[in-house]
Amino acid sequence: MENVDLVVIGAGPAGYPAAIRAAQHGARVVIIEREELGGTCLNWGCIPTKTLISAADRYASAMESADYGIQHGKPTVDYGKMVALKNTVVAGLRKGIKGLLKGNKIDHLTGTARFRDRQHIAVQTSDGIEQVVVAKRVLIATGSAPARPGFLPDHARVVDSRGFLDIDHLPKSLIVLGGGIIGCEFACMAARLGVKVTIVELLDDILTTLDTDVRRTVRDAMTKNLGIRILTGQALQDIEADDKKVSGRCGDDTVSAELLLSAVGRIAVTEGLALEKAGLALDERGYIPVDAWGLTRTASIAAAGDVNGGPQLAHAATSQALRIVDNWFGKERARLETLVPACIFTTPEAGAVGMGELAAGEQERRVTSGRFPFMALGKAMALGDTTGFVKWIADAETGQLLGAHSVGPHATELIAEATVAIRAELTVTELAHTIHAHPTLSESWMEAAEAANGHCIHLPPTRGRK
């Protein structure tokens, strides 16, 4: 039986940075992971999907290169090779984490953790050996897994996001069940590699967490440029899978494809933890509730990342985990950060941070907005991609930047500047006065800030000029 300062359960984007930071503070740390280091993000989420999307980008630009004066033979897709590349990238990153854990003298146990009480954690390894660790503090960072609705048949033609990443050849046609961020990212990637894609979403629109204007832009592009069929406001019923196809009924339509990807949301991973032994209970949605400091109702136990019901984003998980560990082992205490940017790797990409116009309306807060389309930006024209825009939401009285939304080329990179500006509580005027290098896509933020003040140089005058 070992006595340590911190046990981290789960080595995903919350768990492994927390372990390293605690070690930096001089704590003795054990990290427990039952699968691979890096968690969903590295193994079955962010990194593998972005590797595949990057390959799709190359294919798309090769297809369009004739327009830019480059002639070569018709490009073809070797999906098996793309998957192999993805696996190489993932393996490399996993190795990196292993090295970091070792370098920081963190004990890494492979197995499933189970609370015996709030301080004693049993780890069951695959060879059946049980080891008990005694921890002063515990960080639960077990993440989430794809939800598997009961109405889906158990068949090789029905996969979730994790299962999709394991296939070594692309289907000719694909049904994506769920028009959320994960569903739309996979749909765009597959469609760009030539798969015929149908999205079925129960809600009235896809990507409902996005700003309305952004959503419209993405949806239009998905339909018109990628030829994705989008069915909304309808459930997919009577789903059947056989050797040849998977099909279902959607209102009056019948949809069928070679493969069905289920992307209907994710659920917290808590089974086997025996949380009740540590005095914990799940909330009604199945998450471990935490306070503004990330602590559970057992003060020596915290939960970070997807498992606590916050935004299901790797960077939010990392930030929470580091804050919790700094509060425990560092000098200054602070609440968890609340400003979380979101990146969506559809085609076009989208980014969002802070307040949306809808939320402002609900809070009856007076806001102004400033928008700048890439159509009016030199760099976007030079890149040959003028889809989309950036938009600021600012407080009407003080000009404080409250929210930012981007859609279009490199929109996910662009959101970083907006995040810094909002967290620093800059005003539209200051952002407008900040010199932005030319020619870059980032200039759009400056132009949009000018637009919020009614002083945009590269847009025609509007009636509402102030």
């Binding site: 407080d395 009285e397 003080t398 000009g399 404080q400 930047l401 620093a424 509580e425 800059l426 005003t427």
Partner: protein, 464 residues
């Protein structure tokens, strides 16, 4: 012919009212019965309906302004019609208002509002006596508002601009200019002494602090490294004194007056409600649905008739007995508290009493009580039965001799015939003015209320 809209006189007590909200703006088409504006009197907010149709041509009184009753607040007429630029003087005697509060009060039929308006508009030579306008809860509207004589320090424009730009109050800055005037160098020295440069603040927080006139030297930052954030400024804003509305101000004054000038004493009893609640359930099954409140009020009315001394008030070394029971029932509203009054309550049957209670409580919640329905009570009951309270004591309403506080009915272990049994028990506390009510009277009175509530023969008679 343009019609004058006047501030209605609501009941006998109101001398001035405040327009809290206009529902129409100049140029709006008005139909008969449209709500023109909301007024706030000492006791309530009421909607005022139009008696005429046409177009709202002019308004003289803005939201938040208080004017004497019967003042002309605006005109309704045909588009393009000429109306006076200033309101005519308020008539000395109350006359018919062409705007009536909703629900409509009784109005003299004889007087013609149109003639009234004509008379007013026909005398444009009368000096434009603008109704004395005052902010809510200020000095009486008839007296000219005293010019505030706030002593601000002498400061140079450059110094003032610097202080403002820095979001600091210049009052504490010692001035070294002629006659102690604050000059720019003084502000710079002050900022440096106060460690102004070491106080990080976000740009948006600074803009907000300047706009709101908040001295950031008094703000503690909660951001990284103690940086002042917008949230910190908003916290200071939220902590600033907020003026009470008129209703709340009056509640404050009257309760302070009562509690500081009336010698209160308190007597508490516990009543066994078990049988009455059983009887109430039985009655309900036979289609007679009485509330618990009606039983309590009836028990109080009967006790007041037996102890008229409690239904009295003290005034200048005299006792004033009331021959009728005008029973006030304290009713909590979202924005305060009102006490609708059941007049001549002793003359009502139990069913009539119940009907009155329901009607007044509904009006109170909808903000439709007229001032006369909220004044003249001789005794008040404050019922917190639904608030899950063990017991409480109330403050006597000014103009009354006592008040009864009714707490929640809760199951309790009590001794009956030497055995411990569970009964539904309710505590009541009477607060009495000791100048006119002695301890023994208070005790006997509240025991009479208790005895009434526990007397099933009484209730069977009253509900049969």
């Amino acid at each position: 012919m343009a019609q004058a809209i006047t501030m209605p006189k609501l009941g006998q007590t109101a001398e001035e009212s405040t327009i809290v909200k206009w529902h129409k703006t100049v140029g709006d088409k008005i139909d008969k019965g449209d709500i023109l504006f909301e007024i706030e009197t000492d006791k309530a907010v009421l909607e005022v309906e139009s008696f005429f149709e046409g177009t709202l041509l002019k308004t003289f009184v803005g939201e938040g302004d208080t004017v004497p009753v019967m003042s002309v607040v605006g005109y309704i007429g045909a588009v393009g019609e000429k109306v006076p630029d200033a309101p005519p003087a308020a008539p000395a005697a109350p006359a018919a208002a062409i705007a009536a509060p909703s629900p409509a009060t009784a109005k003299p039929e004889s007087s013609t509002p149109a003639a009234q308006a004509t008379a007013a508009t026909a005398q444009p030579t009368v000096p434009a006596a603008t109704p004395a306008v005052s902010r809510p809860a200020s000095a009486p509207a008839t007296a000219p508002a005293p010019v505030p004589t706030v002593e601000r320090k002498a400061i140079s424009p450059r110094a003032r601009a610097l202080a403002r730009r820095s979001a600091v109050d210049y009052d504490p800055i010692p001035g070294t200019g002629p006659g102690g005037r604050i000059v720019e160098a003084d502000v710079r020295r002050y900022l440096s002494e106060q460690g102004y440069d070491q106080r990080p603040i976000t740009p948006a927080a600074l803009v907000l602090a300047i706009a709101e006139g908040i001295d950031i030297l008094n703000v503690r930052g909660s951001g990284d490294g103690g940086r002042i954030l917008v949230a910190d400024i908003r916290r200071v804003m939220a902590e600033r004194p907020k003026p009470m509305n008129r209703m709340r101000s009056i509640i404050a004054d009257r309760l302070t007056e009562s509690f500081t000038t009336t010698p209160h004493f308190y007597v508490t009893v516990e009543t066994d409600m078990t049988e009455l609640l059983q009887l109430r359930r039985q009655l309900k099954e036979t289609g007679k649905d009485y509330t618990v409140t009606v039983f309590i009020l009836e028990a109080v009315i009967l006790a007041l008739e037996a102890f008229p001394g409690v239904n009295s008030r003290y005034q200048d070394h005299a006792v004033i007995w009331n021959s009728h029971v005008h029973l006030g029932m304290a009713t909590a509203l979202e924005e305060g508290l009102v006490v609708p009054v059941i007049r001549n309550a002793e003359t009502l049957s139990l069913a009539e009493l119940q009907q009155q209670i329901v009607s007044l409580a509904t009006k109170a919640r909808d903000g439709k009580l007229l001032p006369d329905e909220m004044s003249g009570s001789t005794f008040t009951v404050s019922n917190m039965g639904m608030m899950n309270v063990e017991n409480f004591a109330a403050i006597i309403n000014p103009g009354e001799g006592a008040i009864l506080a009714v707490a929640s009915t809760q199951p309790k272990a009590v001794v009956r015939d030497g055995k411990i049994v569970v009964r539904s028990m309710m505590k009541m506390t009477v607060s009495s003015d000791h100048r006119i009510i002695d301890g023994s009277v208070g005790a006997r009175f509240i025991n009479a209320v208790k005895d009434n509530l526990e007397d099933m023969e009484l209730w069977k008679t009253l509900t049969s």
